[in-house]
């Protein structure tokens, strides 16, 4: 068994003057304290990467900076799927008895530590260096390509995609830590500046500063236990040129494996935290995961299904689209929010029931996937 015993999340947005290590430390401190542990009790560290401050040994750098001498430590890099991939590894490490309490941490001053162009350029390098990058694509363009095809095959419209941006903004408005609080409408999304059509500015997550951390432990440390019930990955390609058909993408493979690992079904799930780098990402993943029928996710948004009071509350913190995206920490915020919901600590955002939750992360261009079921044990 493994439990998520503590979570920590900073506000996302501008943290002028904070380094990546500062943001990682802040989140780590919150998570360890939330778990009711002392730093000295942490014997494993997994951390992500920082595009602002790349380092070949970031976990060791962080451990020294933070004041921990762990028995196990290294960085993990799977793009947007890094947070959940680290959590999956931590789950296996504690189950195998390698360590007792793993600190999983990500943080980056991606907004104020470099120019927005530098961020966009750094991220575009996930493209193939010989066959894609010379064509001047951007991350929104890679996802724009996928969006055009998905819309073509399943009759999804730009207005449909806009619904996801509106929903994430509505959720972010009730979280003080979110980067954006101004309400938006479908018309606002449609009228926002074109970035890589069919994607417009409000279809894209922002660049943020922020940090997030969790503690994964062999035993429960608090009153309410949140257990990792099962998780799995799938990696079908790296480059969008080499991606399989839409019906063969990794989310469907990962969720099938996670269902087998956990013994749970989608019908058991009552809260979802799903990666939403772009509106199209969220639309596709919800349908690939089986949280909506093919081409029908937007209709479910319109009907309130994914709202706070709906049947399947989704990303109640506002997701990457409106809470913000600071790199590795971005998608970790989904897990932090899920944990708060599962332990009844989400305040004015609290949903009725979050006893079983599904998390899903995606890295690259729908390249690497991690699906994870969490279950409240008491």
């Amino acid at each position: 068994m493994s439990f998520i015993t503590g979570v920590g999340l900073t506000a996302f947005g501008r943290h002028e003057g904070s380094s990546s290590l500062d943001l990682m430390s802040k989140a780590a401190e919150l998570a360890i304290s939330d778990a009711g542990l002392k730093r000295s009790e942490i014997d494993g560290i997994l951390c992500g990467y920082s595009t602002v401050a790349p380092h070949i040994m970031l976990a060791t750098v962080f451990a020294e900076h933070f004041g921990i001498r762990p028995a196990y430590a290294h960085a993990v890099q799977v793009g947007g799927a890094t947070g959940l991939a680290m959590t999956m590894l931590a789950h296996h490490l504690v189950e195998a008895g390698v360590v007792r309490h793993v600190l999983v941490v990500g943080g980056e001053n991606r907004l104020t530590g470099q120019s927005r162009d530098a961020s966009i350029l750094a991220l575009a390098q996930v493209g193939h260096p010989d066959y894609e990058v010379p064509l001047g694509p951007t991350i929104p363009a890679y996802y724009g390509l996928v969006a055009s095809r998905y819309m073509h095959e399943y009759g999804v419209t730009e207005q449909d995609l806009a619904e996801f941006a509106v929903l994430m903004r509505a959720h972010a408005r009730t979280h003080p830590g979110a980067q954006f609080h101004d309400p938006i409408t479908v018309a606002d999304v449609m009228a926002s500046k074109p970035v890589a059509l069919p994607l417009k500015l409000l279809d894209c997550c922002p660049v943020s500063d922020g940090g997030a951390a969790f503690v994964i432990s062999r035993e429960c440390t608090g009153e309410t236990g949140v257990r990792i019930a099962g998780c799995a990955q799938a990696h079908t390609h790296q480059h969008v040129t080499a991606a399989p058909a839409l019906s063969e993408l990794g989310a469907e493979i990962a969720i099938a494996r996670a269902k087998a690992a956990s013994g749970l079904a989608i019908s058991d799930v009552c809260y979802a935290g799903v990666y939403d780098s772009f509106t199209i990402t969220l639309a596709m993943l919800l349908e690939d995961l089986g949280l909506a029928a093919r081409g029908e996710a937007a209709a479910r948004v319109r009907s309130g299904y994914f709202g706070r009071d709906g049947a399947m509350p989704l990303n109640t913190h506002g997701g990457l689209l409106s809470y913000g995206h600071c790199g590795v920490g971005g998608a970790m915020a989904h897990l932090v929010e899920t944990h708060l919901q599962m332990t009844g600590r989400a305040g004015n955002r609290q949903v009725r029931d979050a006893s079983i939750a599904l998390l899903h992360g995606d890295g690259g261009v729908l390249s690497s996937h991690v699906s994870m079921f969490l279950e409240r044990t008491r």
Binding site: D130, G136, P137, L197
Partner: protein, 123 residues
């Protein structure tokens, strides 16, 4: 980056050509150059010139570019094209291309290089 030697020059090295590879053992096609077949692992796949004919699979019109060199070209369309030979490639093209269009390649300058550029076949 791909490292292994190319027998035929293509646009990635400045030549006006699109080159793909065909496995001599299993017949699989691949566009990203390697010294082996990605399907069966057999060494030394045969290099072939593509006709430049194909069908548009996906499109995205880039309006916000990330470098001064690429910004000079906005808006420019990025397309994925399914080549007649059976492999998929990324390229540029006429900004009004849509999914399903039959296209043919020429080459155009972009940000200091030569890139494949697809135009609609006149029917």
């Amino acid at each position: 980056m791909s490292g292994s030697k190319h027998a035929l020059a293509d646009w990635t090295t400045g030549a006006e050509a699109i080159v793909y590879q065909c496995c001599r053992t299993c017949g699989s096609l691949q566009y990203f150059h390697r010294s082996f077949c990605v399907a069966c692992g057999a060494p030394d796949p045969e290099e072939k010139h593509a006709s430049g004919e194909g069908t548009v699979y996906a499109t995205s019109l880039v309006v916000r570019a990330a470098t001064p060199e690429t910004r000079a070209h906005v808006p420019y369309i990025i397309v994925l094209v399914d080549a007649a030979e059976g492999f998929r490639m990324m390229a540029h093209g006429d900004n009004d291309l849509s999914i399903g269009d039959k296209v043919t390649a020429r080459f155009a300058p972009f940000a200091g290089r030569l890139v494949p550029y697809f135009e609609k076949v006149k029917s």
